[in-house]
Assembly symmetry: C2
Homo-oligomer: 332 residues x 2
Amino acid sequence: MRVLIVGAAGMLGTKLALRLASEGVLGGREIESIALADVVAPAVPAGDVPVDTVVCDVASPGAARGLLAAARPHVIFDLAAVVSGEAETDFEKGYRVNLDGTRGLLEAVRGAGDDYRPRVVFSSSIAVFGPPFPEVIGDAQATTPATSYGTQKAIAELLLADYSRRELLDGVGIRLPTICVRPGAPNRAASGFFSGIIREPLNGREAVLPVARDVRHWFASPRAAVRFLMHAATIDTAELGTHRSLTMPGVSATVADEIAALRRVGGDAAAALIREEPDEMVARIVDGWPQAFDARRAAALGFVAEADFDEIVRVHVEDELGNAPSTMKRPA
Amino acid sequence: MRVLIVGAAGMLGTKLALRLASEGVLGGREIESIALADVVAPAVPAGDVPVDTVVCDVASPGAARGLLAAARPHVIFDLAAVVSGEAETDFEKGYRVNLDGTRGLLEAVRGAGDDYRPRVVFSSSIAVFGPPFPEVIGDAQATTPATSYGTQKAIAELLLADYSRRELLDGVGIRLPTICVRPGAPNRAASGFFSGIIREPLNGREAVLPVARDVRHWFASPRAAVRFLMHAATIDTAELGTHRSLTMPGVSATVADEIAALRRVGGDAAAALIREEPDEMVARIVDGWPQAFDARRAAALGFVAEADFDEIVRVHVEDELGNAPSTMKRPA
């Protein structure tokens, strides 16, 4: 089986490539080769599987066609995207990358021949949903996005479903929860603090909390997200029918739940590193975000997230901190 | 007020232009000029309002920009579309006209300057919905289209909402019911018989009924559709919030309801002209179509359809047959 990851230099793409290269199998089938494409050079993961890296802008005309001609992948992971904040500030870039980029990839698959029908796993987002929300959002919720990013993801979902219905490809869209705990440096995304208030204190650093403690949101770990992507690559799509996109399972947690979990793992010293600094604008943005889902369809298809926020913190400690957060090492 | 109709040579475009030109006002404001654009020359309606016709393919690059530069319309009706059957058989044409055409129009508006924010009335369709359906479909139904046409309309709705949210234009999408009774010659659309079994007998001609009499669907007259378009051009969009597309009211009727209404208007002689000739393929297609809606949002905003199928038949007799169907004039 040949695999292509588009957007391979991102956080999830890097972790997915690492996992595929180290396991060497996907859904019980041996991985012959992995092609990694992104606008910046993706890291080559260790492992025995041959890995090709391609630096290209998949949203530029012909780029996707070139990628497919070279690799003729059985499975394509489409992870390339401009994030929510950037799609909102740069209207044209958001549409170009998130809509035209994905459409160009689907079109390249369509143009690659009648006998070519790869599995396309598309990373969508819960941003396809917008207010007003029910308390718990079910699988039948309409996609009424409140951002350009969510609009672009919802459009890509529609394209994926139509191309799949017409048997031009075999698509699965997975609506990822907010990924938490995001590793790496703090960024300026409005959602950044959800990860920051765990990641920074566990590294012995202060973190700013811009919203109230009763703010609730929907989370899964990077490890769970990689598992979702791999599972989506191998499920029997006959069970999806024409509804090709699935809300992924996750953990509904408040900021207070997060802090309690941090305290249990990192101790009072860690929790003390959170500094409350209310930010009206962040509070207003987050107020328009979903809080909880009943992701029944995905669960029935075998997608599994963490059980609670404690597990999300433990996963972060295991995967990013070598199982030992600095606050656990310091005398309390 | 300056008005532009894109897709002005179609059945609804022609009727809308006629009505606007003869009334000379829209929402209480005088119409200064009407620009009619289509790929074939639109008919120039009688009336005192100056009318410009433009023959162009609005889906071709630059065409929409040219239209707006010339007319700088306050209200744009976007009616241009490849119909459902053609969008299904000609994949590329469907996406080019129904998706790229509408997107190009929205982009042209965006590019026409910061001080330009016209009302854009987009003719969407109940084809944005796909099975499985609840018995009566509410306003919160998710858009899961079962055709490429429905996919293209659903995508255009998402674009319209995002461009409106970003205050690039002021959009209203109206999801039209199946228009019945369609005037003109029988066509090969799968839905054609719904109109044919009324129109043809009232003209003294035989009509074929390819499905069972208990088949139920959702209808409005051409007159109601024109009224929807005009009302959408003038409503206060503040009440729409970010949800810019509305399912239009209509009449839920079975084929048996249609025939009973035909009999009441045209007599037994008319009803006797319907010949049952079951067509498995048509039956299967129609089986995937919605049957009834609770179009509460649109009703609250003042959109009104016919009260029952008898009224739909009477409207057809008044508007298309000079108030006298041929079967009414013949001795029974």
